[in-house]
């Protein structure tokens, strides 16, 4: 099989960027990615390296938040790997049971690494990341409104 070790070892900065977009792709919905893909223009042909499949991830926690690991429980995950004729490989790993989501994430992961499609796709990712950030800010603002502002009541004469 074609594995990533055939490619030149990416710089750590490249890895950081890839980690970031993979996180954004995982948090987006399949519908959003479907629409975003349409904006990316003509695309290369991809074939499956590993067909979309559903499985589980055992989620771990830490005792006392910072101590030894323990198994909390499982969550569903979908994954998919694709490659194109140039040997460009993309992987998708997303929470939930939407195979199409995993496939789209894999296609985007491959495109984002390519020279010709990279820049267009990065804009798409930036938009999605922005939307995710706004949603989180909105939620945080609602939480902030429930913050307790203590005031001390002075009792007695002095």
């Amino acid at each position: 099989m074609q594995s990533d070790r055939n490619m030149p070892l990416p710089e750590s900065r490249e890895i950081e960027r890839r980690k970031q977009w993979m996180g954004v792709l995982a948090r987006a919905t399949a519908t959003q990615l479907e629409a975003a893909l349409a904006e990316c223009g003509p695309l290369p042909e991809f074939e499956y390296l590993r067909r979309p499949e559903i499985g589980m991830v055992m989620v771990r926690g830490r005792a006392d938040a910072k101590g030894d690991q323990f198994n909390l429980g499982e969550m569903t995950v979908s994954r998919c790997s694709v490659k194109n004729a140039d040997g460009l490989v993309g992987h998708g790993y997303v929470a939930g049971r939407n195979k199409r989501h995993a496939e789209l994430a894999a296609v985007f992961d491959a495109l984002l690494q390519s020279f010709e499609h990279g820049s267009v796709c990065r804009e798409v990712i930036a938009t999605l990341a922005g939307e995710q950030h706004v949603a989180r800010k909105k939620r945080n603002a609602k939480t902030a409104a429930t913050k307790v502002n203590f005031f001390t009541m002075v009792r007695g004469e002095d």
Binding site: G55, M56, D64, D68, F70, E74, T76, V94, T146
Partner: protein, 368 residues
């Protein structure tokens, strides 16, 4: 003893059809959608995911619909579904210190850095039935403020740890992590296996145990150091990538209980602690879990193991509601032959005793 009994097939089939009809209820009332359960019965969904030990909100909602709202049955359905999927990865441990907090309260420090964030809660409600909810269109709009909390919040346990008042855990990530879904529990149990059992344990059972501890059966005087609820990222390290990627966020609840101190000639006294973590928003569950986790540390802390909540065999063997309901409910299966044996035995015992009595009476008469 069990004996195969035939002849119930038609009855079973019809009983299931009847259950289906009962579940649907009056057809003139619109059918409940899974999305409605997901959105409007979220805490039920969270409990099913937590005790079903599978995080997948739409699946849990479906299970609740199928079980007609019987949550233990829904948990059973989720556990059964879980066995059909391959496990592909173990995640990196979720980092609750970077949680996107939606609720955070501490009962130990009023002015904790970051503040007391009540979030969505039933606390401080009057528990008066709100009849306006019975009317159909009802909505409440949350208030948002400009200043929002961002970034990791400092933790109560860190504040205590910095002063040496509580032990700061030092993780050993090289050691094997127990998995009770693979290897049966053997005693004495490591804390990781205990926490995994408690995390999927029945809320009612853990609540009762925690309560029993508070009332004096193995009391360890707990304070809710910090309770949090919010979203954490889950990441995995696929072999083909060799680096960590996030697959999404999950909602979790967490409770850290500060409990009675220990110390001896060599060591200065310190607080001890208990920990609770669960999928979804299950505050009562994680609070109970943290008390029970602390109680189960009795052996390691050199305390007497005298109360039920301190007995790991008692707690861990009985906390799983799927196992418990299975064994209790199997009693309704045919035990005809078994019971017949008891009947025969009892009748013959009685006969024997009665025979002896009549004999004694007769011989008594003779003497008289």
């Amino acid at each position: 003893m069990y004996v195969a009994v035939k002849g119930g097939e038609k009855a079973i089939e019809n009983a299931h059809k009847l259950m289906g009809e009962e579940r649907r209820g009056d057809p003139s009332v619109p059918e409940l959608g899974v999305d409605q359960i997901l959105q409007q019965m979220r805490l039920a969904v969270d409990r099913v995911m937590c005790e079903g030990a599978l995080y997948d909100p739409p699946l849990a909602a479906l299970a609740i619909k199928q079980a007609a709202g019987d949550l233990v049955e829904a948990i059973f359905l989720l556990r059964a579904y879980r066995t059909t999927l391959p496990r592909l990865y173990a995640s990196r441990p979720v980092d609750t210190t970077t949680m996107h907090v939606r609720r955070r309260v501490s009962a130990t420090f009023k002015d904790i850095p970051g503040g007391q964030l009540l979030g969505p809660t039933f606390d401080y409600t009057h528990r008066l039935l709100d009849f306006s909810l019975a009317a159909e269109s009802q909505s409440s709009i949350a208030v948002a403020t400009e200043s929002e909390p961002e970034g990791p919040m400092s933790r109560v346990m860190d504040l205590l740890g910095d002063e040496g008042l509580i032990e700061i855990p030092t993780p050993n990530d090289q050691q094997h992590v127990s998995d009770i879904t693979h290897d049966p529990i053997s005693f004495p149990v490591k804390r990781d296996a205990r926490l995994q059992s408690l995390a999927r344990g029945d809320e009612g059972f853990l609540l009762a145990l925690g309560y029993s501890s508070q009332r004096g059966f193995g009391n360890n005087h707990p304070f809710a150091g910090e309770i949090r609820m919010g979203e954490v990222a889950v990441s995995i390290v696929p072999d083909e990538l060799g680096f960590e990627v996030e697959i999404g966020d999950i909602t979790v609840s967490e409770c850290e209980m500060v409990t009675s101190f220990k110390g001896n000639k060599e060591e200065l006294p310190r607080f001890t602690s208990g920990y609770g973590l669960s999928f979804g928003y299950n505050e009562r569950k994680v609070m109970a879990m943290s008390i029970v986790d602390r109680s189960l540390q009795a052996r390691e802390l050199g305390e007497d193991v005298s109360a039920p909540c301190q007995d790991e065999e008692f707690v861990l063997y009985h906390s799983d509601n799927v196992e418990a309901q299975g064994f209790v409910q199997h009693l309704k299966l045919p035990h005809y032959v078994d019971f017949q044996a008891d009947l025969v035995m009892l009748r013959s015992m009685r006969e024997e005793i009665m025979k002896q009595d009549t004999h004694r009476e007769k011989s008594g008469e003779e003497v008289a």
